[in-house]
C-alpha cells in the first residue's frame, strides 16, 4: 500500500506538539523570572531562577487579597460543589435506575431538557434571587449553583451506571434489616467508589475554572475564586507596569492543580470527557 511518508507525519505531529506545549512552558518559565528578564530576554531561561513572584502573590502585595485566599476559596467551593453534586446525583440516578414509579420516564426527559439550557439565560435572575436569599458572595451559594449546573448530565451518567449494578447486593442488605437508604449508603456507595470517582473527575475541571457565575455572584474580594484573580490581572501594555511575573505566577498556580490532576488521572479524564461530551 502506498503510505504517506512517516517522516512527514512525524514532522507535523512534532510541530503541533511544540505549538501546544510552548505557550504552557513559557507560562511556567516566565513565572520564575524577574520583570527585567521578562522584558529583556523573553525567550531565555530564568537566570537566576526567582521564586519572588510566588512569594509576593501568595502573601498578597499588589493584589487586594493574598492569592492564598483565592486558592482556599476555589478549593473549598470545588470540594463542596462536588460533595453536594455527587450525593444528590447519586441518589437521583439510583432512584431513576431502580424505581418503577409513575413519572420516572418524564423526569428523565426533564433532566435531558435541562442539558440544553445555556447558563447565560440564568444569570440575571440568579443575581437578584441569590441576593434575596443572602447567597450572593457566599461559598454555600456557589456550591449550590455549581452542583445544580452539574446535576443533569451527572444524573444521566449515574443512572446508566446503576442500571448495570447487581440487585443482589442491596437486596441481601435489606433482608438483613437495612432500609433502602441504609443499603444505598452502606452497600451501594462503597461498591461504586470507582464510578463516583469518575463522576468527580468529569466535574472537577469545569468547576475549578468557572468564570461567569463567579464574576456575577462574587463581587467581594475576600470570597473570590482563582479564575477571577486571573481575569482581574489585565494590564494593557507590557512596558508600563512591573507585575508581569506576578501575573504569570498567578496563572501558573491556577493551572497547576489541574495539571497535576491530569498527570495522575489522564486516562480516566479522557475517557470521562468522551462520556461527558454530551454536556
Amino acid at each position: 500500500m502506498k503510505r504517506i511518508p512517516g517522516a512527514l507525519v512525524t514532522v507535523l505531529l512534532v510541530a503541533w506538539a511544540i505549538v501546544q506545549v510552548y505557550p504552557i512552558l513559557f507560562m511556567f518559565i516566565t513565572s520564575v523570572k524577574s520583570d527585567k528578564q521578562i522584558l529583556n530576554a523573553p525567550f531565555a531561561l530564568p537566570d537566576p531562577l526567582l521564586l519572588d513572584n510566588y512569594a509576593i502573590v501568595w502573601a498578597g502585595d499588589r493584589v487586594a487579597q493574598p492569592f492564598s485566599t483565592f486558592f482556599i476559596n476555589s478549593f473549598m467551593i470545588t470540594l463542596g460543589s462536588l460533595a453536594i453534586l455527587l450525593f444528590v446525583a447519586g441518589l437521583a440516578g439510583y432512584s431513576l435506575a431502580r424505581g418503577r414509579f409513575p413519572g420516572n420516564a418524564a423526569t428523565q426527559q426533564g433532566f435531558l431538557l435541562t442539558l440544553a439550557v445555556p447558563v447565560h439565560v440564568l444569570i440575571i435572575p440568579m443575581y437578584f434571587f441569590m441576593g434575596d436569599l443572602g447567597l450572593r458572595n457566599s461559598h454555600i451559594g456557589m456550591m449550590l449553583v455549581y452542583a445544580t449546573l452539574g446535576l443533569p448530565f451527572t444524573i444521566i451518567l449515574m443512572r446508566a451506571y446503576f442500571l448495570s449494578f447487581p440487585h443482589e447486593l442491596e437486596e441481601s442488605a435489606m433482608l438483613d434489616g437495612c432500609s433502602r437508604f441504609g443499603a444505598f449508603i452502606r452497600v451501594v456507595v462503597p461498591v461504586s467508589r470507582g464510578a463516583i470517582a469518575s463522576m468527580a473527575i468529569i466535574n472537577i475541571s469545569w468547576i475549578w475554572s468557572e468564570l461567569l457565575f463567579a464574576l456575577v455572584l462574587l463581587d467581594q474580594p475576600q470570597v473570590r475564586t482563582l479564575p477571577l484573580a486571573v481575569a482581574g490581572y489585565r494590564p494593557v501594555s507590557m512596558a508600563a507596569e512591573s507585575v508581569v511575573g506576578q501575573q504569570f505566577a498567578i496563572m501558573t498556580l491556577t493551572a497547576l492543580p489541574l495539571f497535576v490532576f491530569y498527570f495522575f488521572f489522564q486516562q480516566q479524564i479522557r475517557k470521562g470527557m468522551t462520556a461527558g461530551a454530551l454536556r
Partner: protein
Amino acid sequence: MNFRRNLIWYIFLAPAVIMLLMFMALPLIQSLELAFFEWNGLRPREYVALENFEDLFDDRFFWGALRHTLIFAVFSTIGTVGIGLLLAMAISRRVRGAALYRFVFYLPVMLPMAVTAALWVRMYEQNFGMLNVMLRSIGLAHLEGAWIASRETALGSVIAVAVWQFSGFPMIILLAAIENIPQDLHEAASLDGISELQRSRYLTLPLIRPVLISISVLQFIFSLKVFDLVWVMTLGGPAESTSVLGTFLYKEAFRKQEYGYASAVAVVMFAVIFAVTYAYQRLMRVEAVEF
C-alpha cells in the same frame, strides 16, 4: 399503597428536582418574564410588551454580537474538529510516542479558560509579546500585527486561541472512533492495493462520519456559549469587534443595568442554543448514553 411503596424513590429524587427547579427552572422562567419589562434593578419594573425585542432588532451592536458569535462558532468548530481529525488520523498510524502525543495534545484542554486567555493576551501583546518578538527574530517583521488590539484581526486572533486550546478534545473522541474500526476492514482495504489517502477517504472517513458530525455539533454548541475567552482577552473590544452574545448580555445587564433588555438577549440566546441542542438530542437519541 402504591404511592407509599414508591415514596422512597421520590424522596431519593427530591433533592435533585428541588435544586433544578430552584436554580434552573425558576431563573429560566424569570428570565423569560423579565424580557418583557424595563428594569434597572432599583425602580419598580415597567411592562413594555415587545419593546425590548424591537429595540434589539434595531440595535446594530446586537447584530454585531450575533454575527461575531456565529463566526466564532463556525470557525472554531472547523478549526478544532479539522485539526483534531488530522491529529487523530496521524496518531492512529501507530506512530512512535503515541501516548505522549495524546497526553500533550489534550494538555491545553485542561487549562482554565481564564488562564488561556490571560496567557494569550501576553503572547499577542504588540511590543513585547511572544508572537511579534518571534516574528521579528526570524525575519518576518512585516507579518507583525496588533492582533487582539486591532479591529481587523481581533476576532480571528481570539478564534485561533480557541482552536489552540480545544483541538485536543475532538482528537480524543475521533481517535477512539478510528480505533474502533475493525482491523480486518483495514487489512481488506490494504489487500485491494489502495493508497493510504484513498483508504482515509473511502474507508476511515465514512466509518467515523456519525462521530464526526456529533462532535462538530457539540463543539458548535459549546462555542455559541463563549464568554470567558472573549471577556478576559478583549472585553468584547476593540470597538466591539469581538463582542459576542455572552459578553453583550453581560455588559447590558451588569455594566448598564439594563436588566430587561439583557434578558431579551438571554431569551434569544436560549432560543438559538436550545433549538440546536434539542435537535441534536433528537437526532442522536442521547437517551442511550453508553458508559
